[in-house]
């Protein structure tokens, strides 16, 4: 079984990729870590951000072990600078 996951991008990461969302296919029971790797394979320009990105699923930060399911809203959060 393969799922399409769309990831929202913002700010520097959005500009770097040139899109405000990217989609990848994940096989079976994929983790957040698998998702990040799949995005970096498809969009190598994300690589410099990889170690700084936190992943949010449905508006909450999640760990790399978390699972991603079809229908989840996923976002890559590069270091924030509000305030």
């Amino acid at each position: 079984m393969s799922t399409s996951v769309t990831v929202r991008l913002f700010a520097a990461l959005r500009e770097r990729v040139g899109e405000d969302r990217v989609s990848v296919f994940l096989e079976g029971d994929a983790s957040v870590r698998d998702l990040v790797e799949a995005v970096v394979r498809k969009h190598p320009e994300v690589a410099p951000f990889e170690r700084y990105i936190r992943v949010a699923v449905n508006s909450r930060y999640v760990s790399g072990d978390s699972r991603v399911a079809a229908g989840d809203e996923v976002a890559f959060i590069s270091p924030v600078s509000g305030g």
Partner: protein, 142 residues
């Protein structure tokens, strides 16, 4: 006690007095208000304006989570966190956090917790436009 609560993203200029009004309460003896403004000079470079971009639904959810956590840790009567999005010229306000409590130490501690938490976790990003014409996202790699 149930604290008054106001969390929002705003595209119009922020008013500290209006944010403070959200936390005023007869049983509060202390209110602490933190105001972040656009600074003209940073390490000798002149800034003209900042632009804030937010992942809006999550930013509001994270600000709510921070407010929940502050209310769990301190006896608060009100918490307000208002952050501006879009372009903010030098001298204007980007964020106002107001906290009320019967006790001043709680108001001060909670206000500090909220601004530190906001800067660490709330998905809002800042792009700086300098007087020399350059435009840069602030520390995109941490």
């Amino acid at each position: 006690m149930t604290a008054r609560r106001s969390v929002s993203l705003e595209s119009d200029p922020l008013s500290p007095g209006q944010v403070m009004a959200h936390v005023q309460d007869d049983s509060a003896g202390a209110i602490d208000v933190f105001v972040g403004t656009t600074r003209r000079y940073t390490e000798g470079r002149e800034t003209v304006e900042l632009t804030y971009e937010a992942y809006e639904t999550m930013a509001v959810a994270e600000m709510d989570r921070l407010a929940d956590e502050a209310c769990a840790r301190w006896p608060l009567t009100g918490v307000a966190i208002h952050h501006r999005v879009g372009t903010v010229p030098v001298g204007e306000i980007s964020v106002v956090i107001a906290v009320s409590s019967p006790h001043r130490a709680a108001a001060l501690d909670a206000c500090r917790f909220l601004i530190e938490g906001l800067k660490a976790d709330v998905p809002i990003w800042k792009r700086e436009r300098y007087a020399d014409g350059s435009i840069e996202w602030v520390r995109p790699l941490g």
